[in-house]
């Protein structure tokens, strides 16, 4: 019951979707399955929200270390959820788009979530710079190639790259840094991306087969 039914559901759903590719009248099953997937994913968000409330409410009730930050998390979650679900301040009421300009949900996104999101990622610029300084010192051939490729791509996308190499004549134009950056992206980078993509696709195909055939069962967990 605890293991057989999930395995049966998995094999049935997966096999039906694979078979549907070969039956023209069943092609819409794939679109329907994607839609079902999206709907279940929303419930996964609800599950995540439920877990978030449980974990942080527990911290607050026990007054454990840093509980005041859990209050901040719960407040942020509650305010965003209420303004979003009830479309508070939306000029068109419940019929309006959730991201309607002027709605509180949109204001919170624009002035709270968006600054937090972009600053959090902008912060990584400093850490990437410091980590790359330590990691990419040209210690061997591979590290040197990586460093040079990254440097050319970075320089090729700035005005400095144009300024430094625009004196190179047209018959050697590929050596101008912006053109070299484009060539790296279109030739060696493309080759590497393709090799990786082919490798990933083989991995995905074999893992899908293992799942459909019931060989891979790690998703069931260790117990029972």
């Amino acid at each position: 019951m605890k293991r057989q039914i999930p395995m049966l559901i998995l094999s049935a759903v997966g096999t039906l979707l694979v078979v549907s590719v070969f039956i023209p009248s069943a092609r819409h099953w794939q679109e329907d399955a994607s839609l079902y997937f999206d709907i279940i994913a929303v419930f996964a968000f609800f599950l995540g929200g439920g877990n978030l409330i449980r974990v942080h409410a527990e911290k607050v009730s026990r007054k454990s270390a840093g509980w005041i930050y859990s209050v901040v998390t719960l407040l942020g979650f509650g305010i965003m959820l209420v303004t979003g679900l009830f479309k508070i301040g939306n000029p068109n009421g419940i019929a309006g788009d959730i991201s309607q300009a002027g709605s509180y949900f949109q204001l919170l996104f624009q002035y709270v979530m968006s600054p937090l999101n972009s600053t959090m990622y902008a912060l990584l610029a400093f850490y990437v710079a410091s980590a790359s300084y330590r990691a990419f010192r040209a210690k061997n051939t591979e590290a040197t190639i990586l460093l040079v490729a990254a440097f050319v791509i970075l320089l090729g996308r700035t005005a400095l790259g144009v300024l430094l190499t625009n004196w190179i004549p047209a018959q050697f134009s590929v050596l101008q840094v912006p053109n070299l950056a484009i060539w790296i992206m279109n030739a060696p980078n493309l080759a590497g991306q393709r090799a990786i993509m082919i490798g990933i696709s083989l991995g995905v195909i074999s893992m899908s087969l293992r799942l459909l055939l019931g060989i891979e069962r790690s998703y069931l967990g260790g117990d029972n």
């Binding site: 039914i5 999930p6 049935a12 759903v13 997966g14 694979v18 839609l35 997937f37 279940i40 994913a41 929303v42 609800f46 599950l47 978030l52 998390t73 942020g76 509650g78 965003m80 303004t83 979003g84 679900l85 959730i98 919170l108 709270v112 979530m113 600054p115 937090l116 972009s118 600053t119 990622y121 610029a125 990437v128 790359s132 591979e142 190639i145 990586l146 040079v148 490729a149 791509i153 970075l154 996308r157 050697f172 134009s173 590929v174 060539w183 790296i184 030739a187 980078n189 493309l190 080759a191 590497g192 393709r194 090799a195 990786i196 082919i198 490798g199 696709s201 899908s208 459909l212 069931l220």
Partner: protein
């Protein structure tokens, strides 16, 4: 004790700057409504406070950063839950499920003969929530099995077609572009970006690069001799790819940083 006092002084200074900024920004508002000006002044000041709180982590972990980080977690969870509800449940489920619900949410009802099937994901979704109840939590595996089964079924054919067959087929490209003989090639040879030599070189690099990259990922044979040479070229090609991806990631992060600095000095301080 000293650090507590220092923290209190710092908090007071931050609160004072916050208030001054709020009052100043509210006074310079563009709207006719006083409430809107005060609200926008507060929101801009709060956005600045959050931006600087996150950047304060560059010095070291501190309460302002922890506050911003905790708020980010809560706000993000609330945002995605609300967005998922309105875009997927109301946008995709309700129009297929019920006419009266569609009218309530002001979305056009879609009449379909098989509309009963749309309740399948709702049932699996509700089963997924049993995860929150320890006694019947094992039931959530059914939903998980549906999700994994759908992903496996969709990806098996999707990856086979788009990522495997089409990538292999696109790698078999002409190795002699616009070839009119060796004499013509040598007499027109140049390093122009749009020239014949670079076009031929690019196709060779792509073809040989893909093959060597795949050789590197083939672990069933020892990387020795000619196979070892191909594997080594494969590593170099992969290193260029990682370098290019790294370069692009850094560019993305720096452009975000420029955006935040523009916000601080332009939108807030008006000196840009």
């Amino acid at each position: 004790m000293t650090s507590k006092i220092a923290m209190r002084i710092l908090t007071a200074i931050v609160a004072l700057i916050f208030l001054v900024s709020w009052i100043t920004r509210s006074g310079s508002g563009m709207s006719d409504s006083a409430f809107t000006n005060v609200r926008d002044g507060f929101l801009i000041t709060f956005a600045v406070f959050l931006t600087l709180s996150i950047f304060s982590f560059l010095y070291r972990d501190n309460p302002f950063y922890k506050f911003a980080e905790s708020l980010y977690v809560g706000i993000s969870a609330g945002y995605w839950m609300s967005y998922g509800f309105w875009s997927t449940i109301v946008g995709n489920f309700v129009p297929r499920a019920s006419r009266s619900l569609s009218e309530f949410f002001h979305v056009p009802y879609q009449e379909r003969a098989d509309h009963i099937l749309i309740y399948i994901p709702i049932i699996f979704g509700l089963i997924l929530l049993t995860r929150l109840l320890p006694k019947i939590g094992w039931l959530s595996r059914w939903s998980l099995a549906f999700i994994i089964g759908a992903t496996a079924g969709l990806n098996l054919t999707r990856y086979l077609r788009s990522d495997f067959i089409s990538q292999v087929s696109n790698s078999f490209i002409p190795l002699f572009v616009d070839w009119k003989g060796a004499g013509d090639f040598v007499s027109h040879i140049s390093l122009a970006a749009d020239g014949q030599f670079i076009a031929i070189l690019s196709n060779w690099v792509i073809f040989v690069g893909v093959m060597c990259g795949l050789v590197y990922f083939f672990f069933s044979k020892e990387h020795k001799g000619a196979f070892g040479v191909a594997s080594r070229i494969g590593i170099w090609i992969l290193m260029i790819t990682f370098g290019a991806s790294f370069g692009y990631t850094v560019m993305g992060r720096i452009s975000l940083l420029v955006g935040r600095i523009t916000f601080l000095f332009g939108d807030w301080l008006n000196i840009l």
